[in-house]
Symmetry: C2
Subunit: 407 residues, 2 copies
C-alpha cells in the first residue's frame, strides 16, 4: 500500500487532550474527535480495530459463539417488559428519541432474549451463544479519557443461554478463559477481578482489568494468581485478606455477568426438559470494549516519539522509506507485499525528517530506510520500533530479515 493512497495526516502540534491515548492517536492521525467522547476512526485506527475484532471473533467462535448483528434501535415496549424503561440508572445513560418511543441500545439483553425465545422450545435447542460487534451509545455525563470512556463506542457483546445453573457456570468459566486468551493475544496482561452485578441486575460479575497508572479504576490484586477484587466487593473481604493484596490503578477491558433468569423470566423464555417439564433458561452476558481496547493499547504502548502498538494490532507491520531517487524502496515494498506482509511505502512528497518522525509517531513495528548513505554499502537500515534496535542489512537479505523479525 502506498501512503499517498491511504489517507493519514499526522499533526506536529496539537492542543492537549483529556488523555494520553486520545493525544497520541489524534496526533498520529488515527482518530479525530467529533464531540466529547465521540470519535471518528480514520484509516489507521480502522485497520487496528479490525485486527482487534478478528482476534476476538476467533476466540468467540472457539467457544461456540455465532456472530450476529442486532439493531441499536430498541422499542420502548421491550424495555418496559424488563423494567429498564423507568429504571433511573438506565434513563440517565441511554439516548432516547421520546417522540419515536425508541432507545438507542447501550446493551442488548432484551432483544437477544426475545430472539432466542423464538427459536427455543426444548432442551435440544440449548445452549444458544450469540455475539456481535456493535456500535453502542451511552449518555456519559463526563465523557473523558479519550477512547476509554466514550458516548459512542464499538463493543463485542456475547449472550449465553443454558438449560441450568451448572451448564451456565461451566460456560461462564470457558468464556472467562477465552477472554484471558484474547487479551493475551492482544498483548495485554489482564487480571480477573471479582465485582458486584452492578446495574445489570446480575448476581455476580467478573471484570478484566489491565494495570495502568492513568487508569480510572482502582482494584485490589494478587500478582501471583492474576486475580483480584474491585471496590464494590472490597467490604466483603477480611482485613487479613486485604493485606495480602496490592491496590493498583487499572483500566477495565472486559466484564462478564451471571444474569441468572432475570431477563429470561421477564420474557417468559422457558424450555421443556427431557421429562417434559417447563424450565427457566440461565443467561449470561459478556462484554469487551473494542474501541476501549485500542485506547488501552495506545495508553500502555508509547514513548516520547509516539505509539508503539504491538505488531498484531499495528495498522501495518512495516514502513519503507526511500530517501534516494531510485526505485529501490518501491522494489522492497513490492517484494514484502508479495510475501503477504502488511507493508506501507511512504511515497509522500515530504522531507526526510517528516517521514522519519511520522514513522515513530505512527509506530510501525519495523521501519526500513534506504538512503544514499546505506546505498553506498548496498544496505538497508532496519529499525525495530519497540526495542529501538537498528541493523544494517544487505539489500538482498531484507525480505528474509523482516520475515525473521516478524515470525
Amino acid at each position: 500500500m502506498r501512503l499517498s493512497l491511504f489517507y493519514t495526516k499526522t499533526r506536529r502540534s496539537m492542543a492537549s487532550q483529556d488523555s494520553i491515548n486520545a493525544y497520541l492517536l489524534e496526533k498520529a492521525g488515527f482518530i479525530s474527535q467529533v464531540a466529547a467522547g465521540v470519535y471518528a476512526y480514520l484509516p489507521m485506527a480502522t485497520r487496528s480495530m479490525q485486527k482487534i475484532e478478528q482476534i476476538i471473533r476467533e476466540e468467540m467462535n472457539n467457544i461456540g459463539g455465532s456472530e450476529v448483528i442486532f439493531s441499536a434501535l430498541q422499542p420502548k415496549s421491550t424495555w418496559e417488559k424488563s423494567g429498564r424503561w423507568e429504571d433511573k440508572n438506565f434513563r440517565q445513560i441511554v439516548y432516547m428519541d421520546p417522540e419515536a418511543d425508541m432507545t438507542f441500545g447501550a446493551t442488548h439483553e432484551e432483544p437477544m432474549t426475545i430472539v432466542v425465545k423464538q427459536g427455543v422450545q426444548s432442551y435440544r435447542d440449548l445452549p444458544v451463544i450469540l455475539y456481535q460487534f456493535q456500535t453502542k451509545f451511552r449518555k456519559e455525563l463526563r465523557a473523558k479519557s479519550g477512547l476509554l470512556r466514550g458516548r459512542e463506542f464499538r463493543m463485542k457483546d456475547l449472550y449465553s443461554f443454558h438449560p441450568d445453573e451448572k451448564a451456565h457456570h461451566e460456560f461462564y468459566e470457558e468464556a472467562a478463559n477465552a477472554y484471558l486468551k484474547a487479551f493475551k493475544r492482544l498483548g495485554l496482561d489482564a487480571y480477573r477481578v471479582k465485582a458486584s452485578g452492578g446495574i445489570f441486575g446480575a448476581e455476580l460479575s467478573d471484570e478484566f482489568q489491565v494495570l495502568c497508572q492513568t487508569g480510572e479504576d482502582e482494584v485490589l490484586i494478587d500478582h501471583k494468581t492474576k486475580t483480584g477484587f474491585n471496590k464494590e466487593v472490597e467490604d466483603q473481604l477480611k482485613a487479613i485478606e486485604i493485606k495480602k493484596l496490592e491496590r493498583v490503578k487499572t483500566i477495565e477491558v472486559g466484564n462478564i455477568f451471571h444474569l441468572g433468569t432475570k431477563y429470561t423470566d421477564a420474557f417468559d423464555l422457558k424450555y421443556l426438559d427431557a421429562s417434559g417439564i417447563r424450565q427457566s433458561v440461565w443467561m449470561g452476558s459478556y462484554g469487551i470494549g473494542i474501541s476501549r481496547l485500542l485506547g488501552t493499547l495506545a495508553e500502555l504502548n508509547n514513548d516520547e516519539h509516539g505509539l508503539k502498538l504491538p505488531r498484531q494490532i499495528a495498522p501495518f507491520e512495516v514502513v519503507v522509506i526511500d530517501l534516494t531517487d531510485s526505485k529501490t524502496g518501491t522494489k522492497i515494498h513490492d517484494q514484502l507485499e508479495k510475501t503477504g506482509r502488511e507493508v506501507l511505502l511512504d511515497d509522500r512528497d515530504e522531507m526526510a525528517g517528516t517521514k522519519l518522525v511520522d514513522a515513530d509517531l505512527i509506530g510501525y513495528p519495523i521501519r526500513l530506510v534506504y538512503s544514499s548513505k546505506t546505498a553506498q554499502e548496498g544496505k538497508v537500515e532496519i529499525k525495530e520500533r519497540n526495542s529501538g534496535k537498528v541493523t544494517l542489512v544487505d539489500l538482498e537479505d531484507v525480505v528474509k530479515h523482516v520475515e525473521q523479525l516478524l515470525s
Copy 2:
C-alpha cells in the same frame, strides 16, 4: 461448520410480512423483526452481509478509497453550520436526543468535511477518498418492504474531495463504474438512472436501479444502454425521448451525488493551488445500502421452496445431509472444509424431511445427500439449488465434483 453450533432456526408457519424478502428471510432464520423497519441479523444474514461488504470493500479500495468508521452521533453545532439542523426535510427523518443536542447520523457530509479540513492545506493533499460501512438511522414514517426501507440499516457511504470540477467529474465516473462492477459481482443487473439532487442539495445525482416487479420505484429505462431517468427528472425529457423508453418497477440499490462545493464551502474547506491561491474543494457522496442489497437479492432470488441467493452471497456454499447412521457425511464435510469450501453439516437431531425442506428454504447453492439408498450404490446425491439439477456421484468423486460446480 456444524449446524448445531451455528444458531439457525427456520420456521414452518409464519404470519405474512410486508414483503417477500422479509417473509423469506425471517422464515429461513436469517433475520428477526425487532420493530417496524428494524431487524436483528442472525448468523446466516450476518455471513451474507459480510460477503456483500467484502465485495464492495474491494471495489472501493480499487478506486483509491480508504476505509474509516465515523460516529453515528453528530453534534447539533455541525448541523447548524451546514444548515441542516433546521431543515424540515431532515428534522423529519433524523433521530434526535434534544436533551443531548445530538443527532444520529442518517448521512455524514458534515463530519467528513470537518475531518478532511483538518488534513488538507494544499493541492498536494488532494484528492481524499474515504468510505465506511456504518449503521444509519432514518425515522421512516412508513417503514415497510422488509430490508428495503428500514429505520435502521447498514450502509456503505463514500465521500470524495477533489481540487476542481474536472477532477471531481472524472472520479464520479470511476465511482459509477465501480458501482456497476460491484453490483455485477453481487449478481445484480443494475441500470444507471439520472435523478435530481434531492434533499442533499446536490446538483445532480445518479441512481442505480435493479428491475423488480415488487420494487417501490418507477423509472424510465433503455435496455440497450442500461441507463434511464427517474420520475423527478421525467418532465425534463421530450415526449420523442420518453416514447423510446420503457416504464418499469425497480429497487434502488445505490445513489451517487455531485455535491459541488455546498458542504466544503459551509465548513470553509479550501486548499492552496500550485499558484498559492485559495480554492474551493469539490465534493461527491456515494451510497450503497448493504442490508437493502441483502433484501433485494432475497426479493429477486427465490421460488416456492425458499431462497436462492447467488452463491457468492449465500451464507454457505454447500450443505451436507447424512441420513444414515454412518460417518460418511461428516467425512465429506471435513474433506470439503479442508479444501477451503464453506460447508455446513446438518447434524441436527431432526427428521430427514425437515433437513431437506430447510436446505431448500435457506437455499444452500449445493445440497449433498447421503442416504441408505445412495449408500447401496456407493454414491452421493448432489442437487444444485438454482437449477434444481440432481446428479448421483461416486463417493470418491464428490469433492472434485463440488469443486467443478463452484469454480
